[in-house]
């Protein structure tokens, strides 16, 4: 009996084998893709057609996908390869894919510094050395600085870069308030005077209109790819990259928080939270577009986006330098930053993906983005020829690249996200009267140092 069983396959053995096979198949299917083979990234060399995964976190580029596909520049960049373009990839979704070993080949998916520091993206210096399109001197210095780490280039500025500091104001509302729109405020004190005159309440004390929420949009950014607005305006660095020490507990930080909070106190913290949450569901510039906020600190994209979303508001939009404290009067502050395309260490088609980084600087790509969304690259050969008067207020940003005499520094701090979140929490406690600017600065410093230790970075 037993011999017979051994001679063939019993039903039990067959079923056992089948179940093991099933379990194995499921496990194999669920396992993350392994590291690419040595030949990975040589798809171009083998001339086999591959599918290039290209992800971006915005939704807007999805609307111009057809225009991209129709352009000869993209066809040239792809060659025989196919293009899989995913838009609206949330930052955490991208992170999960990268962590799981299944990243896109090339992506603009946020978390740039994290990917650089953790070695999730590859240096691009070899590609750049052979490129006719990409070179350091073809980009705004600040943007190029952002994509480098320890002397290696870890990304290429793309999609939405350019410069990010400007005070935009609605000339119609300014003139209605009896102010001279041709002489915009230069210092925080002057801005506060405008703010008071532009802020209106009804008889029941409800807010109808306000001058400026200094923490809206770029005004509120903490450390990250948009820099740290407060430190740019007051002129100091919050973190020393070499010594690994924080410089948050200082007089300028305290003063900055106190001054900016004064604007919020006039509006009322609850009113501010209400406005920020509702206008455009918390999106930047919503209350400006609704003409409830007369001024806003925004990047170069503001004129173009406003023109595309609210043409009637765009017509009365002007831009000027961001306010600075009295002791820095006349200082022309700018910051070059934004987004970058990165090629991932675990990508299957690295070489095939590189031409897309070059394509992102092409005339057709930049035209499509600029004309339909309002974004600009950091690529000088393009913006040197672009029309600075295309959208009202945009010419200021073009001119600011030449005139700026203080460029905010892009600082690489491994816990920048933590500081950014803490900054929002602590400044809110301060403008709700729970602490002074000095106490807020001390609290921020302590939180940063504690977190640094807790993460085992010291």
């Amino acid at each position: 009996m037993s011999e017979v069983s051994k001679a063939g396959i019993s039903r039990r053995s067959f079923l056992r084998g089948l179940s093991v096979l099933g379990v194995g198949s499921v496990l194999a299917a669920c396992a993350p893709a392994g590291a690419p083979a040595a030949s990975s990234g040589n798809a171009g060399a083998s001339k086999e057609s591959v599918v290039i995964q290209h992800w971006v976190f915005w939704n807007q580029p999805g609307k111009v996908k057809d225009k991209f596909e129709a352009s000869d520049d993209l066809k040239k960049a792809l060659g025989d390869n196919k293009w899989e373009f995913r838009t609206g990839v949330a930052w955490d979704a991208g992170l999960t894919a990268v962590a799981g070993g299944t990243p896109p080949d090339i992506g603009v998916i946020g978390n740039y510094l994290k990917y650089m520091l953790k070695g999730s993206v590859i240096p691009l210096d070899d590609y750049i050395s052979k490129s006719q399109v990409i070179a350091k001197d073809k980009f705004i210095e600040g943007n190029w600085n952002e994509v480098t780490l320890d002397g290696k280039v870890m990304g290429i500025p793309g999609y939405e870069c350019f410069v990010r500091r400007g005070l935009n104001y609605n000339t119609r509302l300014i003139e209605e308030a009896g102010l001279d729109a041709s002489k915009p405020p230069v210092t925080w004190d002057e801005l506060l005077e405008w703010h008071k005159k532009l802020t209106k309440f009804d008889t029941a004390g409800n807010l109808l209109q306000f001058g400026i929420d200094p923490y809206d949009a770029e005004g509120g950014v903490g450390p990250g790819s948009d820099g740290f607005f407060l430190t740019d305006s007051w002129g100091f660095d919050y973190f020393d990259e070499e010594k690994k020490t924080f410089n948050l507990d200082n007089e300028l930080m305290a003063k900055g928080i106190d001054v900016m909070n004064e604007f919020v106190k006039i509006i009322g913290p609850d009113n501010l939270a209400g406005f920020r949450k509702v206008e455009g569901q918390g999106s930047w510039g919503g209350s400006y577009n609704a003409e409830k906020q007369a001024m806003i600190i925004e990047g170069y994209w503001h004129p173009g986006e406003t023109a595309n979303e609210k043409p009637e508001v765009s017509k009365v939009n002007k831009a000027t330098w961001i306010p600075v404290p009295e002791e820095r009067r006349g200082k022309k502050v700018q910051f070059g930053g934004g987004h970058m395309a990165q090629i991932f260490k675990d990508a299957k088609n690295k070489d095939a993906a590189w031409p897309l980084a070059e394509w992102m600087q092409s005339q057709s790509f930049c035209d499509i983005i600029f004309d339909n969304i309002g974004w600009l690259p950091a690529y000088k050969p393009y913006f040197d020829k672009a029309d600075p008067k295309k959208y009202p207020g945009l010419d200021f940003y073009f001119q600011s690249i030449k005139d700026a005499d203080y460029w905010g520094k892009f600082i690489r701090c491994p816990i920048e996200d933590f500081i950014s979140t803490k900054f929002i929490e602590i400044r809110e406690s301060a403008y709700r009267g729970k602490m002074t600017g000095t106490e807020a600065a001390q609290a921020l410093q302590k939180a940063a140092e504690d977190e640094w230790k807790n993460q085992g970075l010291s």
């Binding site: 379990v23 955490d92 992170l95 962590a99 953790k118 070695g119 949450k277 996200d417 085992g456």
Partner: protein, 305 residues
């Protein structure tokens, strides 16, 4: 008298049946192993490590737990918010579901329509619920504040003031109790009419009938809904994340939001795993406590518990 011990696997037919059963159940078993047990085990391991998702985990023993309990001011705020939420919203949610079910168990005109209307919020995606309520409660343009403003009254910062925001979320929570209400409704219809008739003959008024007949008869379902509500209360994430993202002034920074922030914003997956396991322990303790306390007040027709 000799005892006969029967081994259920002794006969080939029984063993064959067992094997077939295991094979038929294997999709679930494999799914459980791959998607539940292995991630559970992994998260337990990660909770003893420093792990940022992008690099390799580094063993640090109990440091994550120690830091949470001794050196994390945010954790204390989050625990307060979460306990507040659970202790206020869970009982109120169950009470509102029970009251709605009582109302809909009466012979009112258009009862079916009302039942559908009351159940409707629980089938609406939370995202939609969040947006609808955001526009209702909005400080500047909400329907409620619009009426107040129109009548010359000051607006109420439902979602913008730290003191109002949690009660506002509780209000929304009470509104979306359709599922619990349906369970109550089914149970109410199972309460024997004879008990009410006997109570009426004994001269019980409607309040006494409710308190002495209805509540004891549905007490197991009250317990069930309460336990489920406690568990989901500790895991409260979607609604506050969509509506307030933890603000204003961290008033709605609940446990799950804090966990998410640590995991995906700060990339502290080790700490986030420790938070998850700590939450698991808290939920188990609360559930055991509720069962212990409720044992005295819950009526089971069969006498069991």
């Amino acid at each position: 008298m000799a005892r006969v011990i029967v081994n259920p696997l002794r006969s080939p037919a029984e063993r064959r049946n067992l094997l077939l059963g295991v094979i038929f159940a294997s999709p679930w078993i494999v799914g459980f192993l791959v998607f539940t047990l292995i991630p559970l085990g992994s998260s337990l391991y990660y909770s003893f490590t420093r792990y940022d998702l992008l690099g390799d985990p580094v063993w640090i023993g109990l440091r994550n737990y120690n830091l949470l309990l001794t050196n994390d001011a945010d954790f204390r705020v989050v625990m307060y918010n979460t306990l507040w939420w659970v202790l206020i919203s869970s009982p109120l949610g169950v009470i509102s579901a029970f009251l709605m079910a009582l109302l809909l168990n009466t012979n009112i005109l258009g009862r079916s329509i009302f039942r559908s209307v009351f159940f409707f919020p629980s089938i609406v995606p939370v995202v939609v619920t969040a947006f609808v309520w955001q526009f209702l409660l909005s400080t500047q343009y909400g329907a409620i504040n619009g009426v107040l403003q129109g009548w010359g009254f000051p607006i109420i910062p439902f979602l913008a003031n730290p003191a109002y925001v949690k009660p506002s979320l509780v209000l929304i929570h009470m509104w979306s109790q359709g599922s619990a209400m349906v369970i109550f409704l089914a149970t109410l219809q199972d309460v024997p009419r004879t008990l009410y008739e006997a109570a009426e003959i004994d001269g019980a008024n409607s309040w006494q009938r409710l308190w002495s007949v209805t509540v004891p008869m549905v007490s197991p379902v009250i317990l069930f809904n309460l336990v489920m509500s406690l568990i989901s209360g500790f895991q409260n994430f979607t609604l506050p994340w969509l509506m307030t993202q933890g603000g204003p002034e961290k008033a709605t920074e609940f446990y799950a939001i804090f966990l998410y922030r640590n995991a995906f914003q700060y990339l502290l997956m080790g700490k986030a795993s420790a938070l998850a396991w700590f939450l698991f322990v808290i939920i188990v303790l609360f559930t055991v406590l509720v069962f212990r306390v409720s044992g005295r007040y819950t009526y089971y027709a069969g006498g069991g518990r």
